[in-house]
């Protein structure tokens, strides 16, 4: 589903590359933690998958397509197959919960009828069935992250990318979010989650890919967080 072939990403300026000859393969339906210290290259790897960045050398494949050579006008189509969740939720404060979720469908031109059907279903899936009319600032952090996950999942993407999704949440709430991501993974969606949360990684055992100074230093099918930061 996601494949990096000797990918190096070098930002302008001196210093070592953010990613250095990284090769990895993530299959369809996998749940993968991307761990490593700050600056290890986790976010760069995720941005390469989203084609927000292009590798300096090497190739990135998503769903069988080499995306670094993809024409600009095809990028939106690629992103429709990828849902994204961030540590800071990134919800639109002037829209209700339902509107935030519907937004992801509106901008890709889904019909009103389809939106009216799919949005409540997705809100139910993330456990916010009765909170569609609330504004984001009326919700707790965990609930806001659920809205963000609903928005990321509403178009039923093949891949869900989560960048520190539990970073702003207390441990109990984080467990709820992890359960939700696990449920989404169960539907066949590939989940790639960058995290610093060793409690979560150790508790919900999945494949772990550890990056250090831009290199893959560990790739375990059923790993633990494995280092102290």
């Amino acid at each position: 589903m996601i494949r990096f072939e000797k990918v190096t990403k070098r930002y302008p300026g001196p210093g070592r590359p953010a990613l250095d000859q990284v090769t990895l393969d993530i299959d369809k339906g996998e749940f993968v933690y991307l761990v490593g210290t700050s600056g290890s290259g986790k976010s760069t790897a995720l941005r390469l998958v989203l084609r927000e960045l292009r590798p300096t050398t090497g190739r990135v494949y998503v769903a069988g397509k080499e995306i670094n050579r993809m024409a600009g006008w095809k990028v939106p189509r690629l992103r429709r197959q990828i849902g994204t969740v961030f540590q800071d939720f990134r919800l639109l404060p002037n829209k209700t919960v339902a509107e935030n979720v519907a937004f992801a469908q509106q901008v890709i031109g889904k019909s009103r009828r389809e939106i009216a059907k799919v949005v409540p279903e997705t809100l139910e899936l993330v456990g916010l069935k009765d909170k569609g009319d609330r504004m984001p600032d009326e919700l707790s952090g965990g609930e806001q992250q659920r809205v963000a996950i609903a928005r990321a999942f509403v178009n039923r993407p093949m891949i869900l990318i989560a960048d520190e999704p539990t970073g702003n949440l207390d441990p109990a709430t984080s467990v709820g979010i992890m359960n939700l991501l696990g449920d989404i993974n169960q539907t066949g969606t590939t989940v790639v989650m960058a995290t610093h949360d060793h409690g979560i990684v150790d508790q919900f055992t999945k494949r772990v890919i550890e990056l250090d100074h831009g290199k893959v230093v560990r790739d375990e099918a059923s790993g633990s967080y494995g280092f102290q930061h």
């Binding site: 600009g72 939106p76 992103r79 990828i82 994204t84 990134r90 639109l92 992801a104 901008v107 890709i108």
Partner: protein, 315 residues
């Protein structure tokens, strides 16, 4: 594509950036009005030149039977072929003349009739026994001078020739009129140019501010896979709305100028000149060259918007 969403965004955008949009509309309105007046003045110069000849030209009317000038040159009545040949040779040989054309009685009559119809004074040409007829209309030579300053030689040479009825030397009067028109035309175009440039800068600023205000939405739209066109559409529509309002206001001002300024005031006071009409007004609105304000307004707002949104909204 969800048009409802696009129009909601458009409404929000217009409201959010109201003062900037008003500034763009006002600047566009004034600059397009000036540009339109510039076009009308240019059309007026063309209309005047077509009927009166430009300041480089003199008109040599040849004698008709029973010539109204009662010039001694016309003692023998209608100009003869020999007389006309001598006149033509004199014009040909003059070093003050750049070129000349012969205008037959029929051509001259038709031209005058058209002109009269334009200024609504065609009564003399019509009816069962019209005052003006093809027979009574003089054939003429239109003589184009090399420079407007030098015409004395050719005028004095022709004045004494048999068959020459009247020489109309309109250099002074027309020179002044065309001078004023040129100043007006370039004045309004230069003014319009500065203001259009200001409008362009304002459009740029408006888009920059709008992109800043919407950066969160734009970031999310990009992430969920909205196309560049979809993201840019509210910006383009905002620019289009500003352009449409600006163009509509300018078209109103130009219509008022045409109605009260040209038709009610100028054409009443300055009767000897034919004036621009509603066709010329439409030309100022929809013309291609120079571009009318209906083209100019949207182009000035949409092109920078397209370029800037590509920069700010890049996927």
């Amino acid at each position: 594509m969800q048009l409802r969403y696009v129009f909601t965004e458009l409404r929000t955008g217009l409201r959010r950036n109201l003062s900037m949009h008003l500034a763009v509309i006002l600047t566009l309105f004034v600059s397009l009005s000036l540009a339109g007046i510039g076009i009308l003045v240019q059309r007026e110069a063309t209309v005047a030149r077509d009927s009166l000849g430009d300041e480089l030209k003199i008109l040599v009317n040849l004698c008709t039977d029973d010539d109204p000038s009662h010039s001694p040159n016309c003692a023998s009545g209608e100009v003869t072929a020999d007389q006309q040949q001598r006149i033509e040779k004199e014009i040909e040989d003059s070093d003050e003349v750049a070129s000349f054309t012969f205008q037959s009685k029929q051509e001259g009559y038709e031209r005058a009739y058209e002109q009269a119809k334009r200024s609504n004074t065609q009564a003399a040409f019509e009816g069962p026994d019209p005052v003006v007829t093809v027979e009574r209309w003089p054939a003429a030579y239109w003589v184009t001078l090399k420079t407007p300053e030098r015409a004395d030689g050719i005028i004095s040479a022709l004045e004494g020739l048999d068959g020459v009825s009247v020489i109309k030397d309109q250099r002074k009067a027309l020179g002044q009129i065309f001078g004023i028109m040129t100043v007006l035309k370039y004045g309004s175009w230069i003014g319009a140019g500065f203001l259009l440039f200001a409008a362009l800068l304002q459009v740029t600023n408006t888009i920059r501010l709008a992109a800043l205000a919407r950066r969160r939405e734009i970031a999310i739209m990009r992430l969920v896979g909205a196309s560049t066109l979809y993201i840019a559409l509210p910006f383009l529509l905002e620019a289009l709305v500003a352009a449409i309002v600006g163009v509509a206001l300018a078209a109103g001002v130009l219509a008022a100028f045409q109605h009260w300024g040209v038709e009610q005031a100028l054409s009443d006071h300055v009767e000897f000149l034919p004036w621009v009409d509603w066709n010329d007004y439409l030309q100022a609105l929809f013309g291609l060259f120079p571009p009318g304000i209906v083209l100019l307004g949207p182009a000035l707002t949409l092109i920078p918007t397209l370029l800037l949104t590509r920069k700010y909204v890049k996927v």
